[in-house]
Amino acid sequence: MRTLIVIFLFLQLNLAFSGIEYRKFESAELEARYNVLIDELRCLVCQNQNLKGSNSDLAKDMRDKIYQLIIEGKTDRQIKSYMVDRYGDFVLYKPPFKSITLFLWLGPLLFFIIALIVIIRVVKQRSRVDSVETLTEEEHQRAQQLLQAAQQEKDNKA
């Protein structure tokens, strides 16, 4: 019984977060689309919030409009372009791939390539230093002899 109550309370919590107004949809699919849209579009008044999280008047108007457009049978793409036509690309949390957003999209890749080049150069430089320090065959034999001689001397003393 107790678990049931807890589960019920959590469900209530979920309802409270799924949009501010109560909306009636013909199908669960439409409702899911509405929830995704209000999640993906930004409120222009409180710029770090999406439409779902904002209590501002404008966000409410925008949610109303999205609801109305969904009921009218518009596609997600049509609804987004409706908003972009009025408020600009800024309403989209995910900016479109355009000439001015080129750096935004490709910047990380660019930095990754620069970092890769730097790493390769550093590693190469290091291995070059190593190769200077490795001994030639002759030197290796000489070192071996010296070590053996030292060992013998030690044994003799003992």
């Binding site: 222009l44 008044v45 710029q47 008047d57 404008l58 108007d61 409009k65 972009v84 036509d85 009025r86 408020y87 600009g88 690309d89 800024f90």
Partner: protein, 178 residues
Amino acid sequence: MLKLKFLIPLIAFVLLVGLLFFGLSNDPRRVPSPLVGKPAPQFILPRLQEPAVTFSPEQLKGKVWLLNVWASWCRGCRVEHPVLNELAKQKLVDIIGFDYKDTNQQAKAWLEQLGNPYRLVVTDQQGKVGFDYGVYGVPETFFIDKKGIIRYKHIGPIGYKDLTEKLIPLIKKLQAEN
């Protein structure tokens, strides 16, 4: 060569500071309007003083005009109002008031108290037309050219400096066009 390498972190640092400084001096509230360069959205709205008469942007075709979005509940508008009064006094351009999500009674009281710089005022009580204009922060002012195209949008209160340095030259430039 060694000296140059030594300078790389410094150069990177200066570039980063420059970038951050640029970011700080940018006002994120000023979102560029996608409507600039496009025809002003059409509407038919009742006038504030005579609600039986409507106004539509078509009526001003062939003229340069300003659409000033304001409301009696808007603080920035109170700051901007004397500047608009000053502009109206120069009789340079028609300013159409766009009373956004307001009540007629309060809007009228505001104009009586602070003066009326507008040729006429239209009322958009539900903010439906405001939505088409992408209004998100009152006051906003649209500069519309002779062909009915939005050429500039000023977001936030217009100051005296904006007016003399930028906006009046812009109006004159638009009026000089054919």
